[in-house]
């Protein structure tokens, strides 16, 4: 069976490089499932979990935005931050989540703070979800 080489790259170094049967991501335009032999594609990702399937097993990687580049035999995910479930600092994510929630309650009026707090909350929740999924 054909496989895809998936690599997840961040500015702090590569996070993952392995072969998988299928990749599912949540792009800005909606869910995308990538199988081997896909046409070249570029799509921005939302803050979400990337699901990587190999022989019935699913691996998760938390990505904080970024984008996806697909070639027929290779998928590259470029994100400013990405973590394997085992690398996620649950306490830190928990604390970040709390902070973001507090800030959301306080600063409903200010547009910029609100957006920032919201994406911080998304990142924290996403990390926690991925960490619990392993």
């Amino acid at each position: 069976m054909k496989t895809l080489t998936v690599s997840v790259v961040t500015p702090d170094g590569p996070v993952l490089e392995e072969s998988y049967d299928m990749v599912s991501v949540r792009a800005e335009g909606g869910e995308l499932g990538i199988l081997p032999g896909h046409i070249p594609l570029v799509a921005p990702l939302t803050i979400s979990a990337v699901r990587l399937k190999k022989q019935g097993n699913t691996d998760y990687v938390a990505v904080s935005g970024g984008f996806l580049e697909v070639r027929p035999d290779k998928v590259t995910i470029l994100a400013q931050a990405a973590e394997n479930p085992s690398d996620i600092d649950v306490d830190r994510a928990e604390a970040a989540k709390q902070r973001a929630e507090e800030r959301l309650n306080e600063t409903k009026s200010e547009e910029i703070d609100f957006t920032r707090a919201k994406s911080a909350l998304q990142r924290a929740t996403n990390r926690l979800e991925v960490a619990n999924n392993k």
Binding site: S7, V9, T10, P11, D12, G13, P14, A27, E28, G29, L32, I39, P40, L41, V42, A43, P44, G65, G66, F67, E69, R71, T76, L78, Q80, A81
Partner: protein, 286 residues
């Protein structure tokens, strides 16, 4: 000639200094190794992002995004990367001198430019000369990660997109080797001269469309340019400090050698004098 005791004191103080500079040299050497590793880890990300940006930019001439278009320059932003601490040889001086010269050359008044210093030395330099500072960041760790630089990179990129500045330049020390670093100026924004390289073979589908992709891709690209420069600058800083400390250690050794020589000479002179005193004393008794 200095007394024996003075010489001895100077020898011991110099050798204390030598111990410290030697230790600092070794610390910098190990930090340099790590900094080089960080810079290496960043390369695949940068290459990939460059490839995608280039393939979008080369494939479609009709894409326009504010970050790709140069507009008449009314105000220029300068990001300058310096260290937090001194004792790094010419590291800070070189980059700040270049910055100052460039500003003197290009601008008549302080309204035409704004500076974003990274590192304490750069900030103090700008404050002392009353140069306009837009934003500053100090106290970065020796091995910075992307999250720590994201704020300032983001801020700088936003300054450009909100048309506060029409051009964004970056000054930093480019790491060539452990003994040579070069002050470099690069233009971050606008991105009108992306290196397309050889023609890409694969044409991409864009989901949902190119504009949206550029929307997320270009700021990310610009931010990673800043981060790349910072990693490069950090490696140069450690290399430069290592060289400076090695020179200091060598100098201390030279001084110690010289002092030991004159100490021995003085000791010998004192002994000779004592002998001749005894001899002449004995001669007087006969």
């Amino acid at each position: 000639m200095a007394s024996l005791r003075d010489l001895k004191a100077r020898i011991s103080s110099t050798s204390n200094t030598k111990q410290i500079t030697k230790a600092m040299e070794m610390v910098s050497a190990s930090k340099l190794n790590k900094a080089e590793d960080n810079a290496k880890a960043f390369v695949p990300y940068m290459e990939k992002i460059q490839e995608v940006v280039a393939s979008i930019a080369s494939g479609n001439i009709d894409v326009d995004h504010p970050m790709l278009i140069s507009r008449p320059v009314k105000k220029t932003g300068y990001i300058v990367i310096t260290s937090d601490r001194g004792l790094a040889g010419p590291y800070n001086t070189n980059v700040l001198r270049k910055l100052y010269q460039t500003i003197e050359e290009r601008h008549q008044s302080k309204d035409e430019y704004v500076i974003i210093p990274i590192g304490k030395v750069g900030r103090d330099f700008c404050k002392k000369r009353e140069l306009p500072i837009a934003h500053e960041i100090t106290g970065l760790p020796d091995q910075p990660n992307f999250a720590e630089i994201k704020d300032i990179a983001n801020y700088a990129v936003n300054m450009f997109s909100s048309e506060e500045v029409d051009e964004l330049n970056l000054f930093y020390n480019h790491f060539i080797s452990a003994i040579s670093q070069e002050v470099t100026e690069t233009k971050v924004l606008p991105l009108n001269d992306i290196d397309v390289g050889e023609k890409q073979s694969s044409m991409y589908e864009y989901e949902p469309n190119q504009e949206q992709i550029l929307e997320t891709l270009l700021p990310q690209y610009a931010e990673s340019l800043v981060y790349g420069a910072l990693l490069d600058g950090k490696a140069s800083e450690h290399a430069s400090r290592m060289t400076a400390m090695r020179n200091a250690t060598d100098n201390a050794e030279d001084i110690i050698d010289e002092l030991t020589l004159s100490y021995n000479r003085a000791r010998q002179a004192a002994i000779t004098q004592e002998i001749s005193e005894i001899v002449s004393g004995a001669a007087a008794l006969e």
